[in-house]
Amino acid sequence: MSEPTDLTIAEARDLLAAGELSSRELTEAQIGAMEAGRGLNAYITETPEIALDMAEASDRRRSGGEAGKLEGIPVAIKDLFCTRGVPTTAGSRILDGFVPFYESTVTANMFAEGAVMLGKTNLDEFAMGSANLTSYYGAAINPWRARGDDRERVPGGSSGGSASAVAGRMALGATGTDTGGSIRQPAAFCGVVGLKPTYGRCSRWGVVAFASSLDQAGPMARSVRDAAIMLGAMAGHDPRDSTSADMPVPDFEEDIDAGVKGMRIGIPREYRVDGVPGEIEALWRRGVRWLEEQGAAAVEIGLPHTKYALPAYYVVAPAEASSNLARYDGVKYGLRVESDDLTAMYEQTRAQGFGAEVKRRVLIGAYVLSAGYYDAYYLKAQKVRARIADDFREAWRTVDAILTPATPSAAFRADDPPADPVAMYLNDIFTVPVNLAGLPGLSVPAGLTHDGLPLGLQVVGKAFDEATVLRVGRAIEAAAGFDARPAGR
């Protein structure tokens, strides 16, 4: 048996089922790894006592003949999910001291399936960022290093702590949330699998909102199968979320090895973007070849409004965020900067409670919704969004799934991030259109750069067709044989 912390969820599940490993043993090993890996700052809050209690309860259930889909599996929870009795920060100072008295639907679903919570992972403040550099609790670090360059790399964002924890063997899997790429981009940067499900597949209830029409929770894991197992436990209709889909949750694992023979895979020509390194283009071509070798047909398609996705996103997401973040006002919970004057209390609380990126987006959002600008910005962006969704709808007439690169670069250095906001925003160029259209997208590690940093490919599917996305992802995973491991801790 390999180190317990190296196991995939599927492997651990089999060992637990066979009685060769207890959840307590697995959890203890994982707690040890979590402590040893503190240098990566992947966790904001560690919950080892809770983890051990949950592990013991899981072992008892198993000996009683009960076992859920994630029975006894230690996982990490992005600190955007409200967890009852455990501080939930959203990576922001403004939620200082906030302890939810309710459990998010997704975490409740996972715990009901036997999952064990190790702690709450680091993230960009309010999930706004692509490098995990905006967290009030300090940057999370990518366990990967470039060959011959020991300087720290960003794990991507916003689910950077989750990606770092999973890649760094500090959890078997983790939850993420993805508003514009926040699961897929850090997964690609950290060499793990990340799945953003169809909008509505996982409940948003109890997840701190960033942009309500785009936010979606999903799994991050070390294999496509593990992502499928986790999604099965996380997903499901929730009557408490008006936007949660009342759809049956299929067994995502069932047909995962069924292959891609006879499938038509769309290759969007608009995803060939100037300035993207040649090795990313090459990896993409290799991905196409892998699928063709397994019997799929590659079809060039057009998604003509792709280049407008990012600017549309940077109107819609900040607009919704400016409203969603209005509740952080020092009155009900979290930080309050006292003053005799109400307006001063509000303004100081929010000035000191929010970081620079959050303020930037709240201000952009307030501006594009303000009188006289609504039509030109917000309404226009929502119309462009409709056109982007139409592009995909058109594509589904001819293809079953779409293959693209996951990111336009590998993980960049933490001490040398893109200089201006727009350059940083370009990180999500390949992932954002998928959120705007509400579709499922999967990032699979598929290769390394010339200097040994992981790169991912993205598979996009039809709404609620995660099963096909996972099948295609599994085919790439099998062909890529990605088995490189991060060096750093």
Partner: protein, 95 residues
């Protein structure tokens, strides 16, 4: 589209975020940069396009008209920065 410091001040006020002169100067530049970049949306023909407000078309859910929640005053009190005699307490706000 260039956004000046007075406009930054106005929206910062709307958003209840205190800003210093320095911040307003920096923000005016940054926000203008973002808005200039966003301008390209104007190139898209959206004549007779319905704006998209939700990611996926779905029917509206509803709840029953029964009392199923409440009774969390203590939990609210525990999280509140200032709470007294059963109320949230804020600086005087009288009109």
């Amino acid at each position: 589209m260039s956004l000046d410091e007075a406009t930054v001040a106005r929206i910062a006020r709307l958003a209840r975020i205190a800003t210093t002169d320095e911040e307003r100067e920096r923000l005016a530049g940054e926000l203008s940069g973002i808005l200039d970049w966003v301008e390209q949306l104007g190139d898209v023909d959206t004549e007779s396009v319905e704006p998209m407000t939700g990611a996926i078309e779905m029917p509206l859910k509803s709840r029953e008209d029964t009392v199923t929640d409440g009774g969390v005053a203590e939990d609210i009190a525990r999280n509140a920065p200032r709470y007294a005699q059963g109320f949230l307490v804020v600086p005087k706000t009288v009109e």
